[in-house]
Amino acid sequence: MHQVTVVRRNSYFDSVTLMSIGSEIKGREGVEEAVVSMATELNKEILLNVGLATEETDAAGPNDFVVAVRAASKEACDAAVEAVDERLTRKDKGAGEREVVCRTVRQAAAEGFGDVAVLSVPGRYAAREAMLAMRQGLHVMMFSDNVSIEDERRLKEYAAAHGLLMMGPDCGTAAINGVGLCFANKVRPGRIGLVAASGTGLQEVMVQIDRMGGGVSQAIGTGGRDLKEAVGGIMMLEGVKALAADEGTDVIVLVSKPPAESVSARILGLLEMLGKPAVVCFLEGDASIAVPSHVHVRDNLFDAAVAAVALSRGEEVPEAGSTELDETMRAAAAEAHAKLRASQRNLRAFFCGGTLCAEAVFLLRSRLDALRSNVSHRPGEEMGGSEARVGNVLLDMGDDEFTNGRPHPMIEPALRNDIIVEQGSDPTVGVVLLDFELGFGSHDDPVGQTLPAIRAARAAAAEGGRELAFVGYVCATEGDKQGLAAQTALLEQEGVIVARSNREAALLAASIL
């Protein structure tokens, strides 16, 4: 054992600093005992107790600094003393900008941090957090799902009674004052306000409005169950009232699957009473239901956007658009068709956007035989996601069955890659239809994630002497962070025919077959 004692006269250091250094030094390899302290009577006693006292330390006083080390070697002792000096002269590294950490929404509200809470905690905690947020006067956007419908109703009743937005549960998209929440595209500001019970349905309408040169004031999400009888459309009704009262909104657009009849009546009644021009897009709904003259009913997303833009410009609203492809697309379809072999009769569509899948099913039901989908509830048409894929199949890959414990394919598009590759080995498949969502919340490069699967499917088909046609739709605007042009170019370089709307993509795919 070696021992080194250093006494420095009249060098004062704070005792706490020295204790902290002392404990570090003691933890060094080879060091058995170390005292780093001022030579107060108390500390001198300690030196004595641990056997490190010397004549020099005995003579030292409270303003004298002592380092005493006992270690396995002389080198270890010296290194320890050096380490003490290094520690004493070290510059503070912790003087950076500090942020206030909040653990509860109450604290965040007290600090004045919030108007809107964006919630994506696991469903079993979400209802409580939403209520805590609303009690603090925060509006809520709830992406979380697996919240009971009773809780949803309770939360929305509270919200309605307190003038708050309660978007969700399971609400994927909203845009307030042009700020996209969760999954949202960057769209031009304008005077069209939307309320939607569908995330990607809302995205598609907003994207199409933007592409037509129109703009959006507010986009309110409600979550998919809002228009069920058990919830009663509380948030859609509140949203409509808010948009009707909003001076920045000239046109109201509603997007939803067909609601429960009583709910539908309430909504249409409200629109009638409020009098603001409106477009009601009840997907797959009956476009001929009786409505007042300032309300226009459409059954698909694209037509809803067309009507909304016309209304916002004060133009006459065109009749529901034709479902014919334009010349370019017809030519592209014919070219692709010519490359298919007779066995290649089937469409396989793998959607990230659930509502986009539902719209495609609605549009293609009359055009393709024996179509099946996991979004359908019709007998003979509905299928489980894991069932064998036979015939024309359209799958929502965002369904729980696929995402169970994994991120949604809009966040992680590679989720559908295996299934895309499989299509190359199926001689009955002629066309594969894929959607790509860009914008806030989505993956940074969904096309790039998917290209290897497209190539692998093509290669597999080529082994069987076939060529596979790919149709893609990129739901995005020029303003989206991933770059619409770049993502589109990647697809086109790969020979994917890129459609300009979800509707066009579906019709094009059918037309190739």
């Binding site: 706490v16 600093t17 204790m19 902290s20 002392g22 404990s23 780093v36 108390l42 300690i46 641990v50 503070d92 590294k93 912790g94 003087a95 500090r98 950490v101 909040c102 653990r103 509860t104 929404v105 109450r106 604290q107 509200a109 007290a110 941090f113 919030g114 108007d115 809107v116 809470a117 964006v118 994506s120 905690v121 696991p122 409580r128 209520m131 805590l132 947020a133 009690r135 006067g137 509006h139 992406f143 979380s144 307190h162 003038g163 708050l164 937005l165 307030i176 004052n177 700020v179 996209g180 929440l181 507010q218 949203g239 009232k241 808010a242 009262a245 909003d246 920045g248 966040i411 806030f440």
Partner: protein, 469 residues
């Protein structure tokens, strides 16, 4: 409130959950706060009780009242006197101790040592064996300091002959008592009871306290709140660091000691004793906090803490709306630095009434302005500021009376709300000394410690019961 209020407004967002949603809001140039969210671990029934209290208007109003009383308190050292003369309910057989109630058998070694010392000091026993027999005989009535208007650091032992500081809350009429700090090393509060300890206690009784009392009365009392407020601006947090406060006190007392008719050599000894003990003021900081917080006890529906205290075995809290009841859980070990020559096995669990300072909103709650203390936690000044900032999450108000220069002069977080503690999972941060578990060895280190969450859960159950009936 209306949905339309949102439209056209510059919005702030609070993201609770997936951080990528926060990132994309930030990308859009929005003000967004990511919550450090943790799933609640409480039983559903408790959680329901908690939520019911959290936004209750009566509770909110009661807590505001509690916080405003804490902040309004004006505390003054008015004199010193033997405990038997002033401490309520003090009999010749009473021995007060720190923390929630505990029997002789259950006391930790440090506290038992201090009891032995007190019995020797009182002349009730001739040696340690006799003292232990007497303590175990049932003749001695042990009681928490807190139940007699007193507070004591570490073992917190108060016996009838011990002089106590008398601190009055002049706004609310409450009074609190605390012994004279003996200094560091072998001292009673760390369980030491050898001859030097007893001698010092006798000297304090015989010479120090009468002289100090005279000087204080000569001054017409000393404003302890003003000293705390200044000291906090000078780098003390008035729990583990009292250098500035003791100096300020000394500055006031010294001239009076020389002028009040105390013999010069006695005055010299008194001044030397004070100047050698930089923790002197702790025993004034504590009763100042105590008499401020006693004014808050028993406000119906208030969930604000009026005491946090430890007896070396259990940690106990008291909650305003629940009066004098204790809610306890096992005392934690202190996380900190040990003096050279000691190991973690030597440390006694958390001990002493001194967490009354944190209950008041100083101590750990003011650590961000006490940079010299922060290395006890092995951290940086920024860590200390974070600790202090995080206390805002569990408190009702900020005390402008104790403003912290490095934190932009924001007041200390004041009025610990047990509901907020349970809601956030953030526990009060307490700066504290570490006692050796063998009596008489003394302080072996210092560090920070938290109360056990059980105290708060038990208090919540009691609160829910009380409101149900």
């Amino acid at each position: 409130m209306s949905i339309n209020d949102l439209f056209g407004k510059d919005l702030g967002f609070v993201n609770i959950g997936a951080p990528n949603f926060m990132e994309d809001l930030a990308l859009q140039g929005q003000r967004v706060t990511q919550l450090a969210w943790q799933p609640p671990t409480m039983a559903p029934a408790l959680l329901e009780a908690l939520d019911a209290l959290a936004d209750d208007e009566e509770v909110r109003a009661a807590n505001e009242e509690a916080a405003s009383r804490i902040m309004a308190a004006q505390t003054r050292l008015v004199g010193l006197a033997p405990a038997r003369e002033v401490v309520p309910g003090m009999t010749e057989n009473t021995i007060l101790h720190a923390g929630p109630p505990i029997s002789w058998e259950d006391m930790c070694g440090t506290m038992q040592g201090a009891v032995v010392g007190a019995l020797l000091y009182e002349g009730r026993a001739g040696d340690e064996r006799q003292a232990r027999e007497l303590a175990a005989s049932g003749e001695i009535e042990f009681a928490p300091c807190h139940e007699h208007g007193a507070v004591g650091p570490m073992a917190g032992i108060v016996s009838p002959s011990m002089p106590v500081h008398i601190v009055e809350n002049q706004i609310h009429g409450t009074t609190a008592y605390c012994t004279v700090n003996e200094g560091l090393g072998k001292v009673l509060r760390f369980g030491a009871f050898d001859e030097s300890v007893i001698e010092r206690l006798k000297w304090i009784e015989r010479e120090f306290a009468p002289a100090m009392d005279k000087a204080v009365r000569e001054l017409g009392g000393i404003d302890t709140k003003a000293i705390i407020a200044q000291a906090v601006q000078m780098g003390d947090e008035c729990h583990n660091r009292n250098k500035a406060a003791t100096s300020l006190l000394f500055k006031e007392v010294a001239p009076a000691l020389l002028e009040c008719g105390v013999p010069l050599d006695a005055a010299k000894r008194v001044m030397r004793f004070m100047s050698a003990n930089e923790h002197y003021f702790l025993n004034l900081s504590m009763p100042s906090c105590k008499c401020a917080l006693d004014a808050v006890s028993g406000i119906p529906n208030s969930t604000v803490l009026t005491a946090m205290s430890r007896n070396g075995v259990e940690f106990g809290i008291r909650v305003s709306g629940l009066g004098d009841r204790w809610f306890t859980g096992p005392a934690n070990l202190v996380d900190g630095l040990l003096f050279p020559g000691f190991s973690p096995e030597d440390a006694n669990p958390d001990l002493g009434d001194s967490a009354i300072t944190e209950t008041m909103g100083i101590g750990g709650f003011a650590m961000g302005a006490s940079p010299a203390i922060v290395q006890f936690v092995g951290g940086s000044v920024a860590d200390a500021m974070r600790y202090t900032e995080s206390m805002r999450e569990i408190t009702v108000a900020e005390n402008a009376g104790f403003s912290l220069p490095p934190m932009n002069f924001r007041g200390t977080a004041t009025g610990i709300d047990m509901v907020k503690v349970l809601e956030s999972g953030v526990l009060p941060v307490i700066n504290t000394g570490i006692a050796h578990k063998v009596p008489g060895i003394g302080q072996v280190g210092a560090g920070i410690v938290n109360p056990p969450i059980e105290c708060f859960e038990r208090a919540l159950e009691a609160f829910a019961d009380a409101r149900a009936n």
